[in-house]
Amino acid sequence: MKKSTKRIGLVIWLIAMAWGVFGVSQRLLHGELQVNYGGYIPWGLWVVGKAYLIGLGIGSSLFVWIVYAFDLKKYFPLARQTLFASAIALLMGTMVIAFDLGHMWRALEPLYRPHFTSLLAWATWLNVLYLLYVVLVFCLDIASKTGFGTRRAFGWIGIFLGIAFSGCGGAEFAALIAHPYWNSTLGPILSIAGDFLSGFAMVLLLAAFFQEDLLGSDSQSLSQLSRVVLGLIVLVVVLEWSEYSISAWYGVGQETTLHNDVLFGSSWYLFWIGQLLIGAIIPAILLLRQPASRTAAGIGGLLVAVAYFVARYNLVLPGQTTPTFAGLQNAYTDSRLTFAYSPSSVEWAVLVFWVALGIGLFIGGRRLAPLSEDLHLARTGGR
C-alpha cells in the first residue's frame, strides 16, 4: 500500500475513534437516554451491528473449518489471519450487543442463570463458546500444535458449532410470532447462507489485500475463492427471491405489505442499491473475471462484506415498523412509542467505535502476531 494511502487511512481511523470514544462515553455516562430505539422499535442499530459483526466472524471462521475439515491445503496459509479477524469480529459484535442491553453490567447473567427455552440464552452460550473456540484454535495454530490430524477434528467441530450458532442467530428472529416479517422458516437458512457469504467475502478481501504472498504466487486459489463467493451471492439472491416472490405472488397477506415496504417504501434504495446493486450485481461482475485479478477480487469481497450490513439492517428494522394494532401509534403520545426509527448519532458513534477498534486491532495485530506463516510448511500441514 502507498504511504499516502496509509496516511489517509490513519487519519480516517483516528477521526472514527475520536467520534467513537465520544459515543461510548455518552453511553456509559447517560445510559440509553440518547438512543432512538424505544418501546415499539426495541431493537435498533446495535442489534443490526451485532448480527452483522457476529455473522462476519462466524462466516469467516467457517471458511477455516471447511479448509481444515476437508484438508484444502492450498488455503492453509489463510487460516491464521482469518481466525484472527474472525475472533476480532466476534468480540466486537459481542461488545456492541452488550452496549445494547438496558443493564449492560448484567450481560453475563445468561451464562450463569440461563433459561434454555430462550434462543437468546443459547445464542449467548454459543457466542462465548464459539469465541473461545476460535481463540483456542488460533493460539494452538500459532503455537504450532495443531498437527494435520488435529486440524481435521478442529475443522469438523468448528463446522458444527459455527452452523449451530449461525442458525440460532437466525432463529432468534424467525421464532418471534409477533413479527410476520421475521416469522419465517427460511429465516435460519437465510442467516446461515448470509453468514457464509459475508464471512467468505471478508476472507477474499483479506486474502487479496493482506496476503499478497499467497495469492501473488497462486492466482488459481484466488479464482476459486472468487467463484465460491460468487456462488454464495447467487444462493443468497435465490433465497431472498423465494422469500419475496412467494408473498408477492397473490399480493395478499401481511408479509406482502411488509415486503412491499422494503422494496418500494421510503427506504427502497437500501434494498435495490445497497443490497442488490452494491452487494450482489457489481461484485458478481467483478468476481466473474477470470483469471481473477487481485484488485477486482478484493474490491468484490469488500463490497459484498460491507453491503451485507444493509441486508442486516433490512432484516432487523422493517420487521418492527408495522404496528401490531391499527392506531397503536396514536394511542399514546411519546417519542419512544412510535414506529419510525433512525439511529441517533450516539448509536452510530458506538458502532463506529467498535468497528474502528476492531480494524485497529487487526492491523496492529498483524504487525505483532505472526499471522503469515511459511507458505510451504502451511500447505503441507507440517510445522
Binding site: 415499539y40 448484567r106 417519542s335
Partner: protein, 315 residues
Amino acid sequence: MEKDRGSRDTEGPEVERAGKDRTCESVRHQTGRRELLQTIFMGAAAVACATFGLDGEARASTCSAEANLAGPLLAPKGLVEGNQLDRMRHELLLAMKKPVSKRKWVMVIDQQKCIGCRACNISCNTENNLPPGVVYRPVLSQEVGKYPNVGRVFTPKPCMHCDNPPCVPVCPVKATWKREDGVVVIDYNICIGCRNCLEACPYSARTADFGDFYGMGTPEIMPYETRPNYEYSKEWKRKPNSDDSPVGNARKCHFCLHRLREGMLPACVTTCLGGATYFGDFNDKNSLVHELLGSSRVRQLKPELGTKPSVFYLA
C-alpha cells in the same frame, strides 16, 4: 359482606324498574320548583326532538334519559358504578383468602361502555409513576364505518396476561414468568434489558424504561417524578442518570399486584369512568367476571395466535 351483596341485588332491579316507568308524561305532572325546571328542560328537549327530526326511538330515549335527571338515585343500574366496584372488591377479598394457586385473575373490558376517556391510562401512569416511554394501558381508538355511518371503538390494551405467553420462554435469564394466579410478572433485579420479550409480545404490551424523565432538559426535575412506586410490593425509586432498576428493564402491566395484596382493585378498574373494566377471580363461579364471560359478546385479541389471553373484551 354476603348481606351487602343481597341488599344490592334487591335494590338493583327496583332502581331499573323505576327508571323505566318514568315517562315524559309523568314528569310533566309533577309539581314543585325542581319539577318546574325539569318540565322546562323536557320541553326544550321535546322542541329539539321536533326541530332536528329525531326518529321515534331516539326521541323516546332522550325523554327517558332526561326524566332520570329528576332523581339521581333512580338512575339505571348500569350507571351506578359503586355497586359493581363494591361487588368486585368483595370478591377480591374472598379470592385473596384462597391460596395463590386457587385464584385466576381475569379482566373484562366492555367496549360498549368504554367512552375512550383514558382515565384508566392516567391512573395507571400515576399509580406506577410511569416515566416517559413506558405505558401499561394505552387506549386504542378506531373509527369504524364510512361517513355518514361512522362510529368509534375504544380498546384499552393492558398486558393480556396470556396463559400461553410468548414473552416468557424468550427471556434468557428467566426474569419474567407466569404466576400461579395467572399474572405474568417481571423481576426487575434479574432482567438484563435485552428487550427480547418486547419483540416476542404480539400485543406490544411491554415497553422499556430508558431512564427518561419528563423534566429532563428543564431547570428542575419535579419531586413527583422521583417519588418511588410500589410495583410488586417493593419500593422502586428512579433517579436521573442512574441505571438502577427499573431503569433499563422491560416493564408492563402487572394487574396492580401490590394493590391486590392490600385488598384494592387495580387502579384502572376503580377509575374507569364508564364502568367498563371488570376484574376478578375466574375460579369463583359466582364472581362478576365469571358471569360476564358467559356473554355471547366475549372476544379476545388475536385469538388465532394461541396465546390464550386473560383479558377479555365484550364487543
